[in-house]
């Protein structure tokens, strides 16, 4: 009896150990990436990097402030379009999951989710850039929004499905019409998860380069005009990393680090904002 129990305990320890190893393997790449970014890029980090435009070739200094601004604007507009659409579609597919439209929407979203981002960029190019006959930040936002919708939709759908039916019944039994039950009870309950899912989508598209290459195009200047070409951090990284000068390569590392920092700050800020709202509730 005792030996069998010891055997069991041994097995348990081995399995827990294996799981620990698996976790390490899973997070190792993250740390490797962060470490190399810091090692290669941190040395060039300075205030000037955050507030200045790039210096002309050959001069030192300069920054990527125009690209930080550009990324915030392009991703901001993409989120303003993509997140509400995705959340709405996700709620529909979950609350009315038996309908044929929900099935079709889900299928289309899965296909779109698997579509390479460069193809989505091509679509935005055909629709916006080719018809307007000039590159624009808006075209980039549209491409990114297209990428966000299926991601946000699928997470929303999963999270809304997790809201227990007993809560829906509670609201309906109080005389809530179905649409209000969905908005007030179901959506509110699932909101923290939806926020997290949306942030993941924001983080992912903030790093997208391919769809911006022939839409937002990139620029060396500060710009608030969504109808003109605009800089973005991934484009800066791409340009500097593929350029011929060693200083550029260094700038590419630093710009990558900044990109990750921007995403991180966005994440933390949005999470703090939603947490406070829920404490008050």
């Amino acid at each position: 009896m005792i030996s069998r129990r010891a055997l069991r305990r041994g097995k348990s320890r081995v399995m827990v150990g294996l799981m620990g190893v698996a976790v390490l393997v899973a997070i190792l790449p993250l740390f490797l990436i962060l470490a190399s970014l810091v090692i290669e890029g941190a040395s060039s980090l300075s205030i000037s990097f955050f507030v200045n435009r790039p210096a002309p070739v050959g001069e030192t200094g300069g920054g990527v402030a125009h690209a930080i601004l550009g990324t915030l604007m392009i991703v901001g507009v993409a989120s303003a379009v993509g997140i509400p659409l995705g959340v709405a579609a996700g709620i529909y597919c979950s609350e009315y999951r038996g309908t044929r439209l929900a099935w079709v929407t889900r299928f289309v979203a899965d296909v779109l989710n698997g579509t390479p981002s460069i193809v989505v960029g091509l679509l935005a190019w055909t629709w916006v850039v080719a018809t307007q006959k000039h590159f624009s930040a808006l075209a980039g936002s549209i491409a990114l929004a297209f990428l966000m919708v299926p991601m946000v939709m699928r997470t929303t759908e999963e999270l809304v499905r997790l809201v227990p039916d007993s809560l829906r019944e509670a609201a309906l039994a109080l005389g809530y019409p179905r649409w209000r039950t969905t908005l007030v009870v179901v959506l509110r309950t699932a909101l923290p998860g939806i926020v997290t899912g949306s942030l993941l989508a924001v983080a992912r598209v903030a790093g997208e380069t391919a769809p911006l290459l022939f839409t937002a195009l990139g620029s060396e200047y500060f710009s608030f005009d969504m109808d003109r070409p605009m800089a973005a951090l991934p484009l800066v990284v791409y340009k500097y990393a593929t350029g011929p000068y060693p200083e550029w390569h260094k700038l590419a590392w630093t710009a990558s680090l900044v990109l990750i920092l921007v995403v991180l700050v966005l994440n933390v800020a949005a999470r703090l904002a939603t947490r406070q709202r829920f404490d008050r509730a």
Binding site: P164, E169, A170, A173, L174, G175, Y176, P177, T189, A281
Partner: protein
């Protein structure tokens, strides 16, 4: 508190005549005919799957959520046909409150849980809400326990407190009928006792229908008791009579524990 129909205490609050219900092809209620008296507690007992919960959920049409169901026969609450196409479902559910098997407070503050219904149904002005919240919590015998933490999450309450909160939430809508679907099955004996005391207290003002698996509970709280078996109402009468002198063999077998 609530609008009453004057001088008509004999008119039953809820009437079913040959009421049947189908989930898809499966007929789960067979020509049920019964009445529930106003301002009294009626218990529905019966083995699992006998259709007692289904029947209860028909009264405020909670089964509408389930696709592919249909009904036949008549079911009326306060003289209004429940399955009529012209029924205002929102107003109907406001008049017919429901308490569920598991406490299901909204993941919000205690205060908001109660204020939700009246605010929605435009029963109250915003400035009256604090008073309504207090009155309903007092009515549900919960006020003293939560008055200092009205704005904390309702999920921090114990199961019994949550269930009383759910009762208070239902009362805030000023219903005339209160449906209770095994309201104590997830609670310990002490919490159960408090809910039972509350039911006895509330029956002065409300028509209460309670589905229960616990026969002692039916005996303790109900004025009348109905016994369901296999989707049929076997018999219904004064609680005393059902438990001491059942007319039907199946009823006797069930209450003496020989089946179900």
């Amino acid at each position: 508190m609530t609008e009453r129909i004057p001088g008509a205490p004999q008119v039953p609050a809820i009437v079913a005549r040959d009421f049947s219900f189908w989930y898809g092809e499966r007929k789960t209620l067979h020509e049920v005919s019964l009445t529930f008296s106003r301002r009294a507690v009626t218990a529905i007992i019966g083995p699992s799957g006998c259709g007692k919960s289904t029947f209860l959920r028909c009264i405020n049409r909670m089964n509408d959520l389930v696709p592919d169901t249909r009904t036949a026969g008549e079911l009326e609450v306060e003289g209004r046909p429940v399955y009529s196409r012209t029924l205002d479902l929102v107003a109907h559910r406001q008049r017919v409150g429901m308490v569920f098997q598991r406490p299901n407070p909204f993941p919000k503050s205690i205060y908001q849980n109660i204020a939700y219904g009246p605010a929605l149904n435009a029963l109250a002005l915003k400035r009256d809400l604090p008073e309504i919240v207090e009155r309903c919590l007092r009515r549900a015998a919960l006020w003293d326990e939560v008055k200092d933490r009205l704005h904390e999450s309702a999920l921090g309450l114990s199961g019994g407190q949550q269930q009383r909160l759910c009762i208070a939430r239902a009362l805030a809508n000023e219903p005339t009928v209160l449906l209770m679907d095994e309201p104590c099955s997830a609670l310990d004996p002490i919490a159960t006792q408090r809910i039972e005391e509350l039911i006895l207290e509330l029956k002065q003002d409300y028509t209460i229908v309670i589905v229960t698996h616990n026969m002692q509970q039916a005996a303790r709280v109900a004025d009348r008791t109905g016994f369901f078996d296999a989707g049929r109402l076997v018999e219904m009468g004064e609680t005393n009579q059902i438990f001491t002198a059942p007319k039907h063999e199946r009823t006797e077998a069930y209450i003496t524990g020989r089946f179900g």
